[in-house]
Symmetry: C2
Subunit: 195 residues, 2 copies
DNA sequence: TCTCCACTTGAACGATCGTTCTATTCTCCA
DNA sequence: TGGAGAATAGAACGATCGTTCAAGTGGAGA
């Protein structure tokens, strides 16, 4: 499967713009300009227009962030350190990009959840996959499955909400605060299990 | 201080529309129509236009949600039940409104943080007040101040992120999951303090 | 060499955006 | 009762929105 360089440029430019300006705040002309293509090319590769392009953005960015989370959790010395490192990594990335949102998906979710079902469905798939990947790793560390799922949902939500706070304050501190809390929460469940 | 009924109608209509469609997804014509006024009246009460109106929305909605959180935390039998009740209340409100976002502020924050500093500042004030109100109540229950602040930040972030998940899945479950996790986290800190 | 089609180009379409404007009506105190 | 300012009304402005379209370009197979 050969993927066009032009289509990739459009996709990547759109991701960057959505992170900064959101779905409704990004125009097709912005995308054309940032990807250094033309309107015709964008509609050649994404014939149904902005919504189709956005679905592809979600399908492209979702697994990308998931693999980052998985790697951080799997490579850490222990699970609680892995949990903290997720927030730490998010905080560093945010600060490095002048508080550009590292993840465009949560923003799209809030903007279009009410009126664009096909985008909402695509995002639901991504969120579910993130939760499941996290839940599996918590359960593998012998946290009860139901508790692990609650914590996994809490992690995904607090990452998304943490971006909102960190961007608003232009500070990495909120994400690090959340990282400490979540590390403590996971730690307390591991101890409970150990008794 | 007498507040015009028209200005209040505009404000309330704008809050409702922002909750459903976000900042960029809501047009001034939508606001005119929903508030049953005219463009002239909107610009009479908010001469600087949409941005000024949005600042007033933030200043109006922020304390409203804060007082709900404060009441729920203060009226509960104990702190951990109060923490859970915050998420429970959010979940019920969300479900009752057909998964209309209970809070428009987080959405605005993500949409405009990069390009509208005065809106970002107004939201930062609101978020800080929420965190402080929550942190005080955790600290009053003898949780260490630094830990209390981490947890307070985590609560605000997970509420905002929880709305995103719940709206996307059209389900109250994510908020209840997060409520259980946060109740457990606060409980574990109270026990630690008790030893 | 010719043909064909994926791909590119950018002007143009109608709709809608935030905002402004002039005109009119209401309200309330001198 | 009359006058002034607050409030309402809605048409209109230029800009920009997502999208469409006709015209071209370029390279690979016959």
């Amino acid at each position: 499967m050969k993927t066009s360089t032009t289509a990739e440029a459009i996709l990547n430019a759109t991701i960057d713009l959505f992170r900064e300006l959101g779905f409704n705040g990004t125009s097709m002309r912005d995308i054309v300009k940032a990807s250094k293509t033309t309107a015709g090319s964008v509609y050649h590769f994404f014939p149904s227009g902005k919504d189709e392009l956005t679905v592809e953005v979600i399908k492209h960015a979702g697994p990308m962030y998931q693999s980052i989370i998985e790697t951080l959790l799997d490579d850490a010395a222990d699970l609680t350190e892995g949990v903290y490192s997720v927030y730490e990594q998010a905080a560093y990335t945010l600060a490095d990009t002048n508080y550009l949102d590292p993840c465009p998906i949560g923003g799209i979710a809030r903007e279009v959840a009410s009126i664009k079902p096909e985008l909402r469905f695509a995002i639901a798939v991504v969120f579910s996959a993130w939760v499941q990947a996290t839940q599996e790793r918590l359960a593998n560390a012998r946290i009860e499955p139901e508790v692990a799922e609650d914590i996994a949902v809490t992690m995904v939500a607090s990452i998304e909400g943490g971006f909102t706070l960190a961007r608003t304050h232009r500070s990495a501190e909120p994400l690090l605060s959340i990282g400490r809390s979540m590390q403590s929460l996971v730690g307390s469940q591991l101890i409970r299990q150990g008794c």
